[in-house]
Assembly symmetry: C2
Homo-oligomer: 240 residues x 2
């Protein structure tokens, strides 16, 4: 049993410990094979389904089939696709490194958090449009991350009024940058249209020449993050 099992999955009152443990002691009639259903299993099966057939393939019916349980059993744990999405969000956010907040300088902490956050979501870009607009209610790990970042920014001297905006803006950059990690080689090669865009063609050639040991997406992310944090350092004292 992992920490994911303790998530608040839906608004019904939680089952009692006794009924939770019934499966282990002696299974009630109709209890499906394959062990007791829990949040970790639902999470793992959801990622499997998404890998196979995209987010569209993640339906309650397909999930029940993959888990070899009745749909009604699944509904005891997740009442909607939004509940499933929250499980996936929590699983991903729990992999984001917030350890630098409280130990490193705030700007270093932001940069380490942002890089880790981007790397986690770069592997799951189809979920970004959904997770980016998912309410935090019922997502304790996601809230724990925001608590860490808020505390770091408060201690760095940002005014309370602006901290949510700073976080939202940084996340926008992080999510957008996650897509770039998956960009194909030569995405900016203008091909037969080069003559119509001579300056752009030239700067693309310069990028290719100067970037022998780093992925273009990493160069852009590093530069953007550096600029962003520099600007925040300036604005921090002005925004009061």
């Amino acid at each position: 049993v992992t920490a994911a099992d303790s998530l608040t999955l839906h608004s019904r009152p939680p089952r009692t410990t006794a009924s939770r443990e019934a499966g282990a002691e002696g299974r009630p009639r109709g209890r499906p094979r394959g062990g007791v259903l829990n949040a970790s299993k639902i999470t793992a099966a959801s990622f499997t389904l998404i890998a196979q057939s995209g987010y569209q393939g993640l339906t309650m019916a397909a999930l029940a089939r993959t888990l070899n349980v009745a749909k009604s059993a699944l509904y005891n744990h997740v009442a909607s696709k939004q509940d499933i999405l929250r499980l996936l969000e929590e699983h991903l956010i729990s992999q984001v490194d917030v350890s630098a907040f409280g130990t490193a300088q705030w700007d270093d902490a932001i940069q380490r958090w942002a890089l880790s956050y981007r790397n986690v979501f770069a592997k799951h870009t189809p979920l970004i449009p959904l997770i980016a607009v998912l309410p935090v209610a019922g997502a304790p790990k996601t809230l724990a991350m925001y608590e860490k970042v808020s505390t770091g920014l408060l201690e760095a001297g940002f005014a309370e009024d602006h901290i949510v905006s700073v976080i939202v803006a940084l996340e926008a950059f992080i999510f957008g940058s996650a897509f770039d990690v998956n960009a194909p080689d030569g995405i900016f090669n203008p091909g037969r249209l080069a003559a119509a865009a001579p300056r752009f063609t030239s700067v693309v050639a310069h990028l290719n020449d100067s970037n022998c040991n780093e992925l273009p997406a990493d160069t852009a992310f590093g530069l953007g993050l550096k600029a962003f944090v520099r600007g925040l350092r300036q604005l921090r004292t002005e925004l009061v």
Copy 2:
């Protein structure tokens, strides 16, 4: 006939003017009803399909049905879903305002471009994961936008080596911010978990108090963009 008809849609040699005009003069056998198929019609029908049933609903078969043409006729114009996606990209990018480049200061121009770009894509967020990684080859309007932005950054004194990275980083922020425009009210309301995240709960309450006349997404975008451009202004002289 709109400018979209002149797009390079696929790698086959373009049809001759004579065969292009055949539909108007006297239709070859098998020419479908509803007028000659062109890029504008394919673009419009694609957006209709996406609005009805999401990007997954945009298939060559569904598109042919919507346009009331044979699939073979459609394949004369678009050879793949990537070709269709390029039409949609070109249609959207042509709505982005680049008019400030060359007339306003570079930092004002960047901010006007970025706001306009975000607003266009905020209405089409499901396409972002796809368009963000779409090669520019064969997309003249998209290239024309990059040419304007590159020229603006070159004239502002950014080194050629860094211009693509600056553009990629700004676009990441723009695309990520487009999602926020669609965030539901109260997305950061921690609900019953407030006690576990007291600082975050407090800064969320401050945001709600201070934001009476502006959408939170606009506040965050404005702050982030300001920080980003400030930082770029500093880095511009260091990055050589």
